[in-house]
Symmetry: C2
Subunit: 625 residues, 2 copies
């Protein structure tokens, strides 16, 4: 991107309403143009917010486009990501995108994608799934206050349609509760959704009452009156103790009669876009000079303790991997000042409470709001912190869209789901994570780990801190035997062969709690003279394909996989994918949870699910029959 693509014309003074209005009009022209050329996109949703952004970028935003990593930069998140034409029109006016680049909008290879992603250095997170930008902005603003301890401001442009998303209200509550006066939400109330008018149209008072009831300062204004917008932002910046929302009445498609305030004009270019540009006054080449941050603070850094060591557990003892998670995370927090923990009000179940007690300044209580919890984590990692998010694995399903989008955002996020599988026992199926392996495997570039003992857990928790992308670790509620010594290492992508002999006739692949069942089965089979190879597939993704293939080949292609998870998308299918191209005869039996679980004792439920040691042994015998 060229630094001075529009250097032919300098920006006007920051405080000139005539200039703001002209700049807004230019944003509309460029929004119409890029979507017209692309034959795709959301010009009308961009046109409504153009004046709002003109005033913001001309006067209020503090951002060094030449140094996107300046820690004192404000953050600006387009929660309504479909207004990408507006964002890119701004980038043209800033001078970081030139005319040629702009017209590559939505084309293969262009960083100017249909919805913004961090492929662009000025974009923090991918948006386009509505209801996520504000929650993530709350995370950024929380990081500013509690971690970085810097005075930059986080701005977020929201649509009115997305106010129906519950995630917005999780964020609104969280922001007010934390007193985030460094956060300003701008809601572009253009009244029209994709297919219908919104529930509340231009009734900004209704929105205001709700924000007020949740503890926000509110300003309503005409979003096309740049002086009113200016006054609203001034109030936002001056307000202390609570966040401010600017509720701006606007017209979708503003300025082009054919589409202004019209239904059926969402998400498509304006017909005859060149005529529309003429109607808007034609092309302009105004430049906007965005003020650089005046502050030059350095982010706060937390003290570390180089002597702190990961916890160790005695072989033969019995410890829950969730407990080892808490122990290890607290230790990691001592050695690494960048590690933070977030929990959804179950820290005494996930054992993140151990981290909370050790590092209260770096613990974020997110209450029972899993979407906001993940959004907070995405927000803090935008600022370079290393988040570990924990709740019951089952309840991570609540935040799956946030995790999905975090992968698009190239976020570095560590997620830990506790209470997996039927082995939780009495609480019953609502609390059992039985789909988490499938969900977390089905993310681009993700890592999925499932430790079987406490020492292995501690090692993997530490390893997660250095991984790219989404790393997921699942932990078990009950105690499991410690089988590995504290000095053993468990590389991501590896596995452990725990039983092996030249006489092995079947390979058994387990992980987590089923690994112990597999070992019991192996011992029982050995007593009957049947040797089996047992593999601990603690790294479910990437899985250790070479070791699995070697073992399968050595055991005549006979493999039993066993998991405390549904059969679909879990360990068994991961193993099958690894063996798919092996090119030898395969007879794989997948043992996984069958039938809807109920309440019961853990061991009863493991048996009822068909994944206990006896059933593994039976599957082995059956393959040999």
């Amino acid at each position: 991107m060229s630094e001075s693509a529009m250097s032919d014309k300098q920006g006007a003074p920051a405080d000139d309403p005539t200039y703001w209005a002209a700049l807004g009009q230019q944003f509309r022209v460029d929004s119409v143009r890029v979507s017209g050329v692309a034959k795709s996109g959301h010009p009308t949703s961009s046109m409504s917010a153009a004046d709002l952004m003109a005033v913001l970028y001309a006067k209020y935003l503090r951002y060094d486009f030449a140094d996107p990593k300046n820690p004192n930069n404000d953050h600006m998140i387009f929660s309504k990501g479909h207004a990408s034409p507006l964002l890119y029109a701004i980038y043209r006016a800033v001078g970081v995108v030139d005319d040629q680049e702009l017209l590559q909008y939505r084309r293969l290879g262009s960083p100017l994608q249909g919805h913004p992603t961090p492929v662009l250095p000025w974009v923090d997170v991918a948006t386009g799934s509505l209801g996520q930008g504000l929650p993530i902005a709350v995370g950024v603003a929380l990081a500013a206050r509690r971690l970085d301890r810097l005075d930059f401001r986080t701005w977020v442009l929201c649509g009115d349609s997305e106010m129906a998303e519950g995630s917005m209200w999780e964020a609104i509550e969280a922001a007010a509760f934390a007193g985030l006066d460094n956060l300003t939400a701008i809601v572009d109330v253009n009244r029209l959704g994709q297919s219908l008018a919104t529930r509340y149209g231009w009734d900004t008072d209704t929105y205001a009452r709700r924000f007020e009831a949740f503890g926000w300062n509110t300003v309503t204004c005409d979003g096309h009156d740049v002086r009113a917008v200016d006054a609203a932002y001034a109030e936002a910046v001056a307000t202390t103790g609570r966040p401010t929302v600017v509720l701006a009445r606007t017209k979708k498609g503003r300025g082009v009669v054919a589409v202004e305030d019209k239904l059926n004009a969402h998400g498509k270019p304006v017909d005859d876009y060149e005529a529309a540009i003429a109607e808007l006054g034609g092309d302009q080449r105004l430049r906007v000079i965005v003020a650089k941050p005046t502050a030059n603070g350095t982010p706060h850094r937390f003290d570390t303790d180089a002597a702190a060591a990961l916890p160790t557990y005695e072989v033969g003892s019995s410890v829950a991997t969730r407990k080892a998670y808490g122990d290890a995370l607290a230790a990691l927090g001592s050695t690494r000042g960048d590690v933070v923990a977030l929990d959804g009000e179950v820290s005494n179940s996930t054992f993140s409470e151990i981290f909370r007690a050790a590092h209260p300044d770096r613990y974020f209580e997110c209450y029972i709001a899993e979407q906001q919890m993940v959004a907070n984590a995405v927000g803090v990692q935008v600022r370079g912190w290393v988040p570990y998010v924990s709740t019951f694995a089952a309840f991570l399903s609540r935040a799956y869209d946030f995790v999905r989008m975090a992968a698009v955002s190239q976020a570095r996020l560590n997620i830990v789901g506790s209470h997996v599988g039927v082995s939780i026992g009495e609480d019953g199926p609502s609390q059992m994570g039985l789909e988490d392996l499938a969900c977390f495997r089905a993310l681009h570039g993700s890592t999925v780990l499932y430790p079987c003992d406490a020492n292995q857990t501690a090692q993997l928790v530490a390893a997660m801190a250095d991984l790219d992308g989404i790393a997921y670790l699942r932990t078990t509620r009950g105690n499991t035997p410690v089988i590995y010594g504290p000095d053993e290492r468990f590389p991501v992508g590896g596995s452990r062969v725990l039983r092996s002999s030249p006489d092995d006739r079947v390979t058994v692949v387990g992980a987590g709690i089923t690994l112990h069942e597999a070992l019991k089965a192996a011992d029982a089979l050995a007593a009957d003279g049947i040797a089996v190879r047992v593999i601990d597939a603690y790294s479910v993704k990437p899985i250790d394909a070479a070791t699995l293939a070697d073992a399968a080949r050595a055991t005549g292609g006979r493999v039993v996989t066993v998991e405390d998870h549904w059969a679909e998308g879990g360990l068994g299918e991961a193993a099958l994918s690894a063996l798919a191209g092996a090119g030898f005869e395969l007879r794989v039996t997948q043992l996984a949870v069958s039938g809807m679980p109920t309440s019961g004792k853990p061991d009863e439920l493991v048996t009822a699910a068909g994944i206990d040691a006896d059933q593994i042994a039976a599957a082995v015998r059956s393959l040999l029959a």
Copy 2:
């Protein structure tokens, strides 16, 4: 369950505060006892709400326990499902659960599970994932108004901790917007969560302001003052035009000093539960006579048109499967009066707008609130209606916990995700459903369908109406060729072999858009003298294992799977699972989306993802090399 387990003592008059208080105390005693015996459970969360439920069941609820299917029965949903001891204590007092059954709480085989499920005939839906009961209750109340057109009331008991869930606010908005005065939410504000105090403690005014701002009538009261609770319910029943919330200040663990209003007393039995029972006044055998509904209305039935037929499409034409979905659903709505449609404000993209135009009374606009959309669907199916839910497949990930719980609820739910895969093109990765197959396969008892043409789509849409459990169908944005005649049939669990000869050397398995790429590849390979078998695996779950195995065996174990989805948990792994036990040499190449997609034209992105016809042909050649 015995009908008269407690016939030894009749219930007192419905309107006696002394009786209500005694009944509430009995509920506490039984809550303490069942969790004490089970050594597990949530007595303290039950004790706070006991008086609230005593007044409700003694005076307000209209429910014929002998006839749970009476369409005029009120509905009562425990959104705080962990208060199951209270619910089962009520059932004992009603007389539908006897003392012996009660003490089986949480044991294997008992229907009195840790969290309520519809294994019990008086339970509509499984709860236990907080923030879902109120949303589903809204769905039931909507069905009452718009579908059944009956005057029963829906009550829901919420916890205060779950008010942090955004899904609650989606529901609160939806209920007020629909004017659901047949809905009463009771919030047990006991101030304490699992690990910490809630954000707002006993500040019921804060909750009230929020509900009021969202359009509800609100009543705050002391939840242990049965006269005040009575007055609150009376107001709720008398209020018209909007729903009422009763915000009741209570004490968690009420009545037992060791746990009353104490942290660290969540989710575990009271120590020395027998002493606690004595402290509460000892065992009682009060009975509650729940009033039967006085109304005897019959649910409204919509007119049908027996002559209506599914749409048909000409072979060789080009039609988007999402369009066929809309056409077929509208036709199905004509032949079946029980079919309803729900959409998340993208009905002009999913084409549910065709149903909306044809059957406006049975279309539910859910706006951009996917959790509430699925909750509405769960609610209407509780009342026996057959819901079809649609939005972009990517955004169904927002409601995944609701779908997960719907499976636990044994709900019959049809879900349709549009805009799947990279083939949507310019909008980019945020809008691409790339994990939906994995997610929907990983549900107990689910069905997953992926049609490749319009006639097939119409047939499968119709078939879904008669399936149990969660049925998912994914549709494609762009037009695809119609390859099947309108009279062809596509049984769930089946497949179609589209290219077959004795000379076939490789099997290619596709579905949806990749099926067409597979056909192109087959034609190109045939021109080179390489015969391949092509299978249309439109039924991804259950998958046609027999046909796949036959084909794989006939082609020397050489198989290429190809899907517009991540490799994990999708069609390829489904096929591998089907072939896992085949016992012959397998060489399977899985083609799936590799790398994070960007914007671009659909065909460019299909190529970039590695799933186009040329790449299929290359994979075939590679297997033969």
